[in-house]
Amino acid sequence: MSEKMFSEWKFTAKDIAEKPDLFTSGHRACAGCGPATVLRLIMKAVRGPTIVTNATGCMEVASSIYPYTSWALPWLHTAFENAAANASGIETAIKIMRKKGRIKDEHVDVIALAGDGGTYDIGIQALSGAVERGHDFLFVLYDNEAYMNTGIQRSGGTPLGASTTTSPAGTVIPGKLEPKKPIADIMVAHEMPYVATASPYYWRDLITKVRKGLEVNGPAFLHVFAPCPRGWRSDPAKSIELSRLAVETCIFPLWEAVNGEYQLSAPSKVMALSPQKKKPVKEYLEVQGRFRHLFTPQFEKMLDEIQRITDMRWQRLLKKCGM
């Protein structure tokens, strides 16, 4: 990792607590909403003039009901599939307007926010294009693993075996039959300067990665785990605990790839160095109603399959990280 790429930014819990919220309270997200917590944390990493753009989705809808807004910084929503194209336009406009002296000559960070639908599925074309063009922006995927805003439909980010309204667990089909698309790896394959995964339980890691994504010159991609109690049929009080379990079971490992060089982040490094600490995925799955059907004799084989794929992906990741 190049030292020049990132500042030595250090912060304490007190710094974060005292920093005014840029994603403010009063939004209409549900109790226990993972994405809302994630956004609040992300905005703690903002370092200066910043413009945020949001794909259509829960967070856009919950935060911008006219004439109210939860955004204390300039914010733009235009459509579902184009958060990265919005960022392209904003970044380019700032660049040329600075050059022409139309606005103050200072750097402006651009953050694009999208859910799993707006990233894995309908948004991937605009995202891939914007990254290929090298725009200087941070794309944050808040992944609640289905189209929650429209009522829990499966996306390319929905995990294997999850029951959603368009991949329902029936009497013969055990929920979604396909594993989650490895979106962050796909972004690494773009040879972009910074890609990372994060989880809100590890808030310090998350905030640091957001700051790194902003500091890096060029496109950055951050994949953030974001539990949805409504869609996951989980206890709203347990969203943060789930964010921890996902990392401890290695179903959502934390890593970063700087200029394509993979490196495990501290919480996942613990699992790599002390494999006995790695928990079975069952512990993560059994507390969520969307996987309830897997705990029946008819479908229990799917549990083994989920464990197998989790382990396979974890081993691959370890290899990429040189471990």
Partner: protein, 414 residues
Amino acid sequence: MNAKMKGNVKQEVLALNGDEAVAYAAKQSDVDIVAAYPITPQTIIVERFSEYVANGEVETEFVCTESEHSALTACLAASVTGARAFTASASAGLALMHEMLFVTSGCRAPVVMAIANRALSAPLNIHGDHSDTMAQRDSGWIQIYVENAQEAYDSVIQAFRIAENPEVLLPAIVGLDGFTLSHTLENVGVLPDDAVKKFVGTRQFPLITNHKGKKVPFRLDPENPTTMGPIALPNYYFEFKRQQEEAMKNALSVIRQVHDEYAQLSGRRYGDGLLEPYHMDDAEFATVCLGSTAGTVKAVVDELRAEGVKAGLLRMRTFRPLPVEGIVEALKNVKAVAVMDRSMSFGSHGGPVFHEVRHALYDLGKRPYVVNYVYGLGGRDTSPTQIRGIYEDLQKIIKTKSVEKLVNYVGLRE
């Protein structure tokens, strides 16, 4: 040409095709960002513009996006950030932008877009007709259709002033017929760079009240945060749409003003900027049409006039907003009108221009006969003989006091 060139500034005559004329106008209009995606017959516009960028002839960022959807999105986002944005497209490209056309007008982003009008698939066809822009007539964009490359040049420059006027703040399309105009070389009088730059000026931002009750410029500005493109529920959405309609109404007079002001500079006029009547003062038989076909119709009108037939043409330069008053004024004393449509509105008994012209005339005490001629789809040529045939039909209608066919197809095998 000389008569048309008596402006206030010295002009140069260049040999340009329609696409090149558009690119040249955009080059002179102090555009901040061009985001675009190639599609025939528009591609020359972005190719020429890329050359201007590559040669350092413009202070513009060129973003070559991965789709038209992202091209318009980037223009929209840049525009609400405060930049002057331009793009170009056609046919399938415009269709792919469909969703973002409504978002752009709804966000009140004054993006200017040139469309080299082309047929829509299927079957695939790259040639000229108006299916692409007519399909977008309800998307909240101003639509100007030009007759030749000169007007394409003049209209793009005017479009920035119209779109960015605080009383309007709507995106604008300048449509030029694919191939007939986009790829055909003409002599085009161009204004000096500084004259155009002065004419278009820099963007002015109206003040809006933000969520803190503070008056701030209407753009994304880190010092004055605003929330753009929010969700509006049934309690507010309707008012937003009503405001867009009001802006369209305002555009009617702004288009005329900008056209007048530009005419002072260039010496070139296209009617009042909304409608261009040709021999309409005492016309008994008139056609209404858009785009390059008007040139052919004018030649036929000249012939008919020489023969003593009181023929006229009403060229609709601005289709959105629809200049209803001007249409009524121009056609109220005519006996029979043929409205020419270069697109179809399947299942609706006639083309869109026909519907709207006929609708405009409904309140007249004494209405002329109004019939429809669909022509030139997929680039099919429309000859002077065929247009003469239309005027003959109109004369027959008056003679027999009856309409044989309300909707007619020109030069079609049936």
